[in-house]
């Protein structure tokens, strides 16, 4: 079960749980008894993302007060959080006076996933079965809503553990439920930006659980999926107003819908910053349209297009193209881009407002992280958003030549060759 979760997700979901548990009395019996390790990892994630890129924390005492207030990292747990992060190598040179932490240096990965480190730390702390089940449940909810009966049937979580998870989930508001007329229940995550969760029951009444699972999983891994006829559940969810699907006109003049279900810890995207989220979805819909219905000049790498819009060196402007006026009309109408005439074509240029810049950055994150922006998890605003995805060389499929007697080279021989070819061999 939880062992199937990748390390990255164990770290990520620990932070979700910590964020939820902020609504619960930290001395509550259930939290103390069952969630100690997960909370500590979650607190570490929140702290790590807050100080990432700061290099030196010169006044750790002040930080302790700030994070207690802003991130609910209890002062008594502060030293444990620092010890844990020091153990993972994310911070070092911790200067202590007695038990008081005075200052430290941070070395959080700027281009790699911190959550991978934290997932490993979570494993090392030998968490309880309840904690493991809780993470698994929260992760499942991050993909889709599910029926109560799935707890035992699909997840293999026993009824006693279920009871505790549901009680904690209810207290922390990590798990929301909707009762169906037949007595069954649907659970969903409050972090989904569902437009109207109350009508979720209607969706479950009209489609099989398998169909719902399959289509939500597709959507989770591909935000802005084109709403084609082979996706009846998502089409229905959009038609009923459960989720958003901006539509764009394709080259043949047909309106194409693109479905989204972003999962965000930052509630402001669902409330005060809802306009930013809506703009981000419009941006994504435009590039998805170019990607899927762009004909022979289809967009190959949508992130690149969005990075160009953010790039001051390129004046926040795309090159002119015959379809830009149609494809980016929605962004133009929403005041995200201006159209700069270029002969009979146009060049979309970002209108540099705070909201528009944030919307494009959010759109990039939604593309990269399967609908889960990481920037609302405590990262300071000046932290770089460049996250590296180092490509590995894919081994080409090759024809194997006839076997014959041959001299085989060792790994060391090949490594020496590659080192020489790439400038890593010592030159003398």
């Amino acid at each position: 079960m939880v062992d199937q979760l990748e390390r990255f997700k164990k770290g990520l979901r620990s932070q979700d749980v910590h964020t939820g548990l902020r609504n619960v009395d930290p001395n509550s019996g259930l939290v103390v008894q069952y969630m100690e390790n997960t909370r500590l990892i979650g607190m570490s994630a929140s702290l790590a993302l807050t100080i990432k890129g700061q290099d030196v924390i010169e006044d750790a005492e002040a930080l302790k007060v700030i994070v207690a207030d802003q991130l609910d990292i209890e002062p008594f747990a502060f030293n444990d959080v620092i010890d844990l992060l020091e153990g993972t190598g994310a911070i070092y040179n911790v200067k202590r006076e007695g038990k008081t932490i005075k200052s430290f240096s941070e070395k959080m990965p700027l281009h790699k996933d911190l959550f991978e480190y934290l997932g490993r730390a979570w494993e090392d702390r030998r968490p309880t079965e309840i904690e493991a089940s809780m993470l698994y449940t929260v992760d499942a909810l991050a993909t889709r809503p599910f029926r109560a009966s799935e707890f035992e049937k699909s997840f293999g979580i026993d009824p006693k553990a279920q009871e505790i998870i549901l009680e904690l989930g209810e207290q922390s508001e990590l798990i929301k439920e909707i009762g169906l007329t037949n007595g069954d229940k649907i659970y969903y995550s409050p972090y989904f930006s569902f437009e109207n969760p109350k009508i979720m029951g209607e969706l479950f009444a009209s489609h099989t659980d398998d169909a719902i699972r399959a289509e939500f999983e597709k959507l989770k891994t591909y935000q802005g999926i084109p709403l084609t006829d082979d996706l009846p559940v998502l089409n229905d969810a959009v038609a009923r107003g459960l989720m958003q699907a901006p539509s764009i006109e394709d080259p043949a003049g047909l309106e194409r819908g693109f479905a989204f279900a972003p999962y965000t810890l930052g509630h402001e995207y669902l409330t005060t910053k809802k306009a930013v989220l809506e703009k981000a979805l419009a941006v994504l819909a435009c590039v998805r349209c170019g990607q899927h219905f762009g004909g022979y000049t289809a967009i190959y790498a949508p992130e690149r297009i969005l990075e160009t819009l953010l790039d001051p060196l390129r004046e926040h402007k795309l090159k002119a193209h015959s379809s830009h006026k149609r494809q980016y009309r929605l962004m133009h109408r929403m005041g995200i881009v201006n159209f700069i005439p270029s002969g009979s074509w146009v060049q979309p240029q970002l209108i540099e407002t705070e909201d528009n810049i944030e919307a494009v950055m959010l759109a990039i994150e939604l593309l990269k992280y399967s609908g889960e922006p990481l920037s609302d998890r405590g990262v300071p605003p000046d932290a770089p958003k460049i996250l590296m995805n180092q490509g590995r060389y894919l081994t080409p499929i090759m024809t194997v030549h006839k076997k014959r007697k041959r001299l085989l080279l060792t790994d060391a021989h090949w490594e020496a060759l590659v080192n020489a070819a790439t400038g890593r061999k010592r030159i003398e």
Partner: protein, 372 residues
């Protein structure tokens, strides 16, 4: 090198330090040459050396180099001026000082003016030194700037075991011979090849390590200079290009490594499996290098001071038997600069597979020296 020449160099170094630069003495300029078949001929030949090198990075990461030629010899000043102009061009320096302790002919002064070389002669040096000393509140007998700490360090490193000779050669010669981009990998390769011989509890080894940290900090700053000039918004791509001398070089290497991988498959067929990733264009420490360069790029005010911090640490009583206090006015302590330098020490240790106590000790010593 005569003692009088050395004292001149020390004086010029002091002026460079006062101007906000980090410094290095006796930088050798050489060329790799082909070996003869008997392998008796040295693989490199030395052109000349730079007496004093001053290095400075502006807050927008532009490298400024200043070189000083110091001699007590009274002969051939015009020839030396022409020579210095050539060295300036070869080393891509921005400014040159020709320093002589006596007055020179007026034709030499005219020539210096035409070539754009600063001629410091006769009492000029004394006056400049006095200004530097007064302004910086540095005592002229401070071991850091009177050269005794430098001499002690070089004496210790001259006495390194013979088997570590290539590491000495690299820091004195090869580092300055290679294009800066190559040092990103070459410095690590040199240390990696001698990791089993280097021990953190051995004082000369630790001193050698500290100089490698200074050298790598310079290399990182040169990388950031390239990144800032070519595309800081896609730092990952810029560093990849820099490593291989541009996009073309990167693609060539990718293609070459792919061919090698295919060759292995052709030779070994399905047996061509490995427990390790071998066919990678980028070095195994690339992710950490990207992190390090990004951190330097994000904090220009702090990172551009890293070389001065490294130099003052390396020549302090933490490593040597010298004791001095740098006045706060000359180098106010910036915790972020110290931290970035520690990051370099950690990176060099981990990328080269050195004993982790190297960076641990380095951080301990920097905590001792840079206390606020």
């Amino acid at each position: 090198m005569s003692e009088k020449d050395f004292q001149l160099k020390v004086s010029v170094r002091k002026i460079f330090w006062y101007e906000g630069m980090s410094t290095r003495l006796n930088v050798k300029l050489s060329a790799l040459v082909s070996r003869d078949t008997s392998k008796t001929r040295a693989p490199l030949e030395e052109y000349t050396d730079i007496d004093v090198l001053g290095i400075f990075f502006t807050p927008d990461f532009r490298l400024r180099l200043k070189i000083g030629d110091c001699s007590t010899s009274s002969r051939r000043v015009p020839e030396r001026l022409f020579w210095l102009e050539g060295v300036k061009h070869f080393f891509k320096a921005d400014e040159c000082y020709l320093v002589r302790p006596y007055d020179v002919s007026s034709s030499s002064k005219q020539l210096a003016a035409r070539l754009g070389i600063s001629l410091v002669c006769g009492k000029d040096l004394e006056v400049l030194m006095q200004i530097a000393s007064n302004e910086s509140k540095l005592r002229s007998d401070s071991p850091f700037l009177n050269g005794s700490s430098y001499q002690e360090r070089e004496h210790i490193l001259d006495g390194l075991e013979e088997k570590l000779e290539p590491l000495q050669k690299y820091r004195l010669v090869y580092y300055w011979l290679f294009e800066p981009r190559r040092n990103l990998q070459q410095l690590i390769s040199f240390l990696t090849d001698f990791q089993s011989h280097l021990r953190p509890d051995n004082k000369p080894h630790l001193i050698l390590f500290s100089d490698y940290v200074w050298l790598y900090a310079l290399t990182v700053l040169q990388t950031v200079e390239y990144v800032a000039a070519t595309g800081i918004s896609d730092i990952n791509r810029s560093i990849r290009q820099y490593l291989f001398g541009g996009e073309l070089g990167l693609r060539e290497r990718e293609s070459l490594v792919k061919q090698l991988e295919e060759l292995r498959h052709i030779i070994e067929g399905s047996q061509a499996t490995s427990a390790r990733e071998i066919f990678e264009v980028l070095p195994p420490y690339y992710d950490d290098l990207l992190e390090l360069v990004t951190r330097f790029a994000r904090k220009p005010r702090a990172s551009t001071k890293a070389l001065r911090y490294a130099e003052s640490l390396n020549l302090s009583d933490a490593f040597l038997n010298q004791s001095y206090d740098l006045p706060q006015e000359l180098m106010p302590i910036d915790e972020v600069t110290v931290k970035l330098l520690n990051d370099v020490a950690i990176f060099v240790t981990e990328a080269s597979g050195l004993n982790k106590d190297f960076s641990r000790k380095y951080i301990e010593l920097s905590n001792q020296v840079f206390t606020t």
